[in-house]
């Protein structure tokens, strides 16, 4: 099995910490990720609203490139961004399900000298870590376990919806299991897959921030020391708007919002700079760690 | 079939398909498709038998020889036969029949065996439509194009149903 890494735009920008921590932990787990050469934007959800087929074609190009690199080998395209993960999966499924979409994209790809046979397996790092690397390997690698750090595991939407491929749609557990394996203590809360507002925070701010507020408040109510995320947009929304949320709703919601991979990395003893933890606005209080 | 015998398929080609359905499951399912008003391709002609075990491979050969372009067989799901195991007998004969057809130069896709339970009206619809589509792709069955035997004689073109190759009659 070949593992190719599809960073997506955010991991090269606002969520550098996600990329840094993902690459570092995979390195440490001896499964180094190779970045897909020449990748382009996945097509992202915002674009779907304007021109769905073009969005899917953008995604399909990445799939075709991955297939090309892998040759005949089975290949996993690891996409840490929930949005990329969904759009890449959706492109794959829509091409199969809707003949007219598939036809247009296949034709256009041929024009552009591309070919896609449908052999790429789009994967999220949560999936790869639990199912391929395994919890035992994680436990072994955790040289500095997190000692009961209380974490609100937040999966967001698009990693389990609409396609629940590797985890339960209503009660996902992979992040819980990973963090438990390295000594953290997931808090019991019901909002692990409730929407953070996505791009609404930037477009219809009031609506978007309300959703973030609900999540942050509940995480605090449940006694979490930190929120762990697996999606750049979720992390950005939950972390960067905390100030505005506080003034809009008159309620302090300061809580560190990390990537799950940063917490795993920390437990593996990787230093904070390498994990991008220094890039957080609200520092992860290590008192509990 | 070799290229030289394949003729262009006429646009308005309406495949002629004979369907042998067992009384208990598939014929009933076919009735259910009717009561449920599931429309499907009008190309099949259903002949009712009590059990798929009654389907003599010679019936299939006769149907093809008399002008059918395809034959569909339908019985109860394995384990559900009204007579315990007639459907298994049918399956065994069907496998042999397919080999025989291939030897005669007839595409094996022209015959199809399906298990359809009494409640599966929708499967009658689906299978019939698929079968018609399949036969449309294959085109009309042109038996005169059957290649000659290795010894130079024409393949036996049975004159009477009863005289068709007895190797069809295996249990």
């Amino acid at each position: 099995m070949k593992y190719l890494y599809y960073p997506g735009c955010s991991l090269k920008g606002t969520s550098r910490g996600y990329e840094e921590s993902i690459l570092a932990i995979f390195e440490k787990l001896q499964l180094p990720l190779q970045e897909l050469e020449g990748w382009n934007c996945c097509g992202a959800t915002a674009y779907m609203a304007v021109d769905e087929i073009k969005a899917l074609a953008l995604a399909a190009r990445n799939l075709a490139l991955a297939e090309q690199v892998a040759g005949n080998e089975p290949v996993s395209l690891v996409a840490p961004c929930n949005s990329c993960y969904l759009v890449l999966s959706k492109a794959q499924r829509h091409m199969e399900e809707f003949e007219d979409i598939g036809d247009v994209i296949v034709k256009a790809m041929r024009e552009a000298g591309l070919r896609y046979e449908g052999h790429v397996h789009v994967r999220h790092p949560l999936d790869v870590l639990v199912n391929d690397v395994g919890l035992d390997a994680l436990r072994r690698a955790a040289s500095q376990p997190l000692n009961g750090l209380k974490v609100a595991c937040y999966y967001g939407c698009q990693v389990v919806r609409p396609y629940a491929t590797f985890d339960d749609q209503h009660n996902p557990q992979t992040m819980h299991e990973l963090l438990k394996a390295v000594g953290a203590e997931p808090v019991d809360w019901s909002l692990g897959t409730r929407c953070c507002g996505g791009s609404l925070t930037g477009t219809i701010e009031k609506a978007g921030l309300r959703l973030c507020y609900i999540l942050l408040r509940e995480a605090k109510v449940r006694g979490a020391d930190a929120v762990a995320t697996c999606c750049p947009l979720c992390q950005f929304n939950l972390e960067c708007y905390q100030g505005q949320i506080a003034s809009m709703f008159g309620d302090e919601v300061d809580i560190p919002v990390t990537y799950f991979s940063q917490l795993l990395g920390k437990a593996m003893g990787i230093d904070e700079r390498t994990l991008g933890l220094k890039r957080l606005f609200v520092p992860l209080t290590t008192a509990a760690v | 079939m070799p290229d030289d015998v394949s003729l262009p398929i006429a646009e308005d080609f309406q495949p002629r398909i004979i369907a042998f359905f067992c009384n208990w499951c598939t014929y009933t399912a076919s009735d259910l498709a009717g009561t449920s008003r599931m429309t499907y391709a009008p190309n099949t002609r259903v002949i009712r038998v009590m059990c798929s075990g009654r389907i003599d491979p010679q019936f299939v050969l006769a149907a093809l020889r008399k002008g059918a372009d395809g034959v569909l067989l339908g019985g109860c799901h394995p384990g559900d036969c009204h007579y315990q195991a007639g459907n298994y007998k049918c399956l065994r004969r069907f496998r042999l029949l397919k080999r025989l057809l291939t030897q005669l130069g007839i595409e094996e896709e022209r015959v199809r065996l399906e298990w359809i339970a009494a409640s599966e009206g929708d499967r009658v619809q689906k299978v019939t439509n698929e079968m018609v589509e399949q036969i449309r792709k294959l085109g009309p069955l042109r038996l005169e194009k059957i290649p000659t035997h290795p010894n130079g004689e024409a393949a036996p073109a049975p004159a009477e149903p009863m005289a068709t190759a007895t190797e069809g009659a295996v249990s």
Binding site: G13, A49, G198, F281 | -
Partner: protein, 201 residues
């Protein structure tokens, strides 16, 4: 005390677009539109329905009935954050998120979206960025969107931008594709041609 106002609420059949539902049902994911039983699961599972002028359930009903103008003028379709909660919870398996996408596309195509709404602008900015660099740069795009729709916002968010810059989470330098840029553009152009050649879409 407020003034009593009256508005005509009745709908005459001629004000409706009776083919609207069929159009939407013909888009990918719209196929089960007519199977809706109006149970409202979508509306109650929707985290943003708090602000919607029409609940998602009503959007479905109105779409089927041909209330095209009302549907496209509704804020609902723009509030949809594509979280897919309605899609997975729908007991009749309607792909409501996809239907919302279809409605957004129709609103943009007919240019009936609210003027102050940045989403269509965002989408356009996004597209031009991708065409130029093959990548999107959220900070830059958002800044440009605000510039076009609500310039005051840039000022209020300047602090955030600076914080991001300081932590290396936003760069002045543009991220670009490491190759294949021409190929990507060729692909997008070819989509236009292939689509034009298709009879139905």
């Amino acid at each position: 005390m407020s003034e009593l106002k009256i508005v005509r609420r009745i709908k005459y059949q001629q004000e409706l677009d009776l083919s609207f539902g069929k159009d939407v049902a013909a888009t990918p994911g719209g196929e089960d539109l007519y199977k809706c039983i109006q149970c409202g699961t979508c509306s109650s599972t929707c985290p943003v329905s708090v602000y919607m002028d029409q609940t998602p359930r009503r959007i479905i009903a109105m779409t089927r009935a041909g209330f095209k103008d009302d549907v496209l003028a509704s804020n609902t379709i723009w509030l949809c954050s594509s979280c897919y909660a309605c899609t997975v919870e729908c007991p009749k398996s309607l792909r409501i998120t996809d239907i919302m996408y279809a409605l957004k596309q129709k609103a943009i195509a007919e240019k009936v979206y609210p003027r102050n709404l940045p989403i269509p602008v965002l989408a356009k900015e996004f597209f031009s960025a991708v065409m130029k660099t093959g990548r999107s740069n959220e900070g830059r795009i958002v800044a440009r969107v605000w510039l076009k729709t609500n310039p005051l916002k840039i000022l209020s968010h300047a602090g955030l931008g600076l914080k991001l810059l300081r932590r290396g989470r936003m760069s002045i330098k543009t991220e670009r594709m490491t190759g294949g840029h021409d190929q990507m553009r060729r692909l997008l152009d070819a989509v236009e041609t292939a689509r034009a050649a298709q009879p139905t879409r």
